[in-house]
Amino acid sequence: MKVVLRVLAGPAGALLLAFVLAAVAMLIAGVSPLDGFGALFSGSLGGRRPIAETLVQTTALLFPALGVSLAFRAGLFNIGAEGQLLMGGLFAGAVGAHFAGPGWLVIPVLLLLGMVGGGIWGGIAGWLRARFNASEIISTLMLNFIALSLAGYLVAGPLKSPLASGAETAPLLPSGWLPAFPTIGSLSFGDTRLTISILIAIATAAVLSFIFTRTVFGYELRAAGEAPEAARRSGINMPRMTLIALALSGAVAGLGGAAIVTGVLHRFNTALSPGYGYTAIAVALVGDLNPLWVCVAAFGFGILEAGGLAMQANAGVPKDAIHVIEGLIVLVLAARRYFATRATGAPV
């Protein structure tokens, strides 16, 4: 009984709850949960194309969720993955529009630029916290809005493609496009939006997992998050750790922005993220801030995101119901204590 309760209190319970709530949301919309779930699952897992789309959404959530996990593990509430994602995409898109060269050069450079863009955005919050003890919660939130204004201004002005009608950069040259997901047996993904970016995301998770468990840096980062005062006394330079952790966290989210630009949009515009950076917080928490479980959680949320559209189209349940469910999952999961103390944090 106790074991059952513990499992229910954890991520598994959250997922179960998600389905119950989804059923409620469908009932409110006057749709039989059977039809609703049918549409949700056939739209996300029912065939090659839906699965590919689910994996595209998984990837889009996975990068920012990994970034959020890293910051949370360091005891820093990075709520700015949305802005960091946008800045990563902006950097990649701005340069990618004019960068001609072989794919093996262009793609890595664009992804790296994404990390730089997101890293700068996270780093600003880190610097403000390290230097001025300014709450990273508020600064990352403010930076989300500032990123949106900045990107909106740039794509409507200096970076606007003269050929496009809307506000967006010129398209990337095809050499900057991420290759399609490799063909498995007779299964080809060439006609879907699925690219190798899902593999890059999973590799990133593996690297982060290695950093957390095997390296001295990861040890110090976790110490800083678990017990800030003990960490400080163990010789860790806390302001430096704050700066590095938030910059790295932003870089991982920014990499995700670049992956969307090079893999899906092939250009940059501010519609790059319909709120992936916020949903990513839910993903990170469901994944217990553990990179490998975050991958699993991202897949679960990928199903919701991809299936939500199908549910709206085929069963008439507004896709925004999905976001209500995500929020409720966060609320429930928050009942677990992630941090020993926040007494030493910046004023919020």
Partner: protein, 298 residues
């Protein structure tokens, strides 16, 4: 009247109007944080207020009832956060993020369910839209006055009444409150409910006083700016009110400057209030002290 003077007047009135929702939310932030709960969910509570005000105005035809509904649903979300943050010992920041997701998603979901149109609601009756002065309506004036009364009342409540003293003690050292034979969790819950009610009122102002509809994302981070105002105002009612007006000024400035400075496009100027908030919290290095138990579950 010269253009300069009329421009200054526009800026003044616009500052007053743009400050109102931030003032309400910031006062909500003060009461909640003084009791020891960081309310990241202010944004969501404003959203709930804005949306429910429109729904109930549409339902009843009376914007006054809409206003009350805004207050009520803000308080409901406050209750959810308060309950989670006290009796469930939830991490307050994470719970606040959850509240925001629920409110924003719920409003979007509700638009489709209730009005069958995504993005924005149909127009409803605006609250007392008669012009009192050239730039400002009766409702806006009333809400400005009410906001000042709230600041006055909160200040009076916190510093002069027994309940205020207990709330302060809750935010500094809840154990002392337990020792005095009171339940700090219940006090915190009440404070967060009040916080949500104030934020809901601020949200309702946005949708049925300033305009006459709800649109997705209309709170635009004002709840977060209000949090910065709480810090900038050093956790005092009047300080937070002043800080909210300061940030409101930058929002007004952005509207006034739009199209007047050729090299600074409107997209970039939208960042003004957020930049102001960012600079404000960074500029307080070493000079502010939050309530000692602020954000710490008990």
């Amino acid at each position: 009247m010269s253009t300069g003077v009329s421009l200054m007047l526009t800026l003044l009135f616009l500052t007053l109007i743009k400050s109102v929702p931030i003032v309400y939310a910031a006062l909500g932030g003060v009461i909640s944080e003084r009791a020891g709960v960081v309310n990241i969910g202010l944004e969501g509570m404003m959203t709930a207020g804005a949306f429910s005000a429109v729904v109930f105005t549409n339902l009843t035809g009376s914007p006054i009832i809409g206003l009350i509904a805004g207050l009520f649903f803000g308080a409901v979300l406050g209750f959810v956060l308060g309950f989670a943050a006290t009796f469930f010992k939830v991490d307050q920041i994470v719970a606040g993020v959850g509240i925001n997701l629920v409110a924003l998603g719920g409003a979007a979901y509700g638009l489709v369910l209730i009005f069958n149109q995504p993005g924005a609601s149909p127009q409803v009756t605006q609250l007392a839209p008669e012009q009192l002065l050239p730039q400002i309506t009766v409702a806006e004036t009333a809400m400005i006055v009410l906001g000042l009364l709230c600041a006055f009342g909160l200040s009076w409540f916190i510093y002069r009444t027994p309940w205020g003293l207990r709330i302060q003690a809750c935010g500094e050292n809840p154990r002392a409150v337990t020792d005095a034979g009171l339940n700090p969790l219940r006090l915190r819950l009440y404070a967060v409910v009040a916080s949500g009610a104030l934020a809901g009122l601020g949200g309702a102002f946005l949708s049925i006083c300033e305009v006459n509809l709800y649109s997705d994302g209309m709170t635009a981070g004002r709840g977060f700016i209000a949090l910065a105002a709480v810090i900038f105002g050093r956790w005092t009612p009047w300080g937070a009110t002043g800080a909210a007006v300061f940030f409101g000024f930058f929002e007004a400035l952005q509207y006034v400057l739009q199209g007047r400075i050729s090299w600074l496009p409107s997209d970039a100027m939208q960042a003004l209030p957020y930049l102001a908030a960012l600079f404000a919290i960074a500029g307080l290095v070493g000079r502010v002290r939050a309530p000692a138990a602020d954000g710490v579950p008990y």
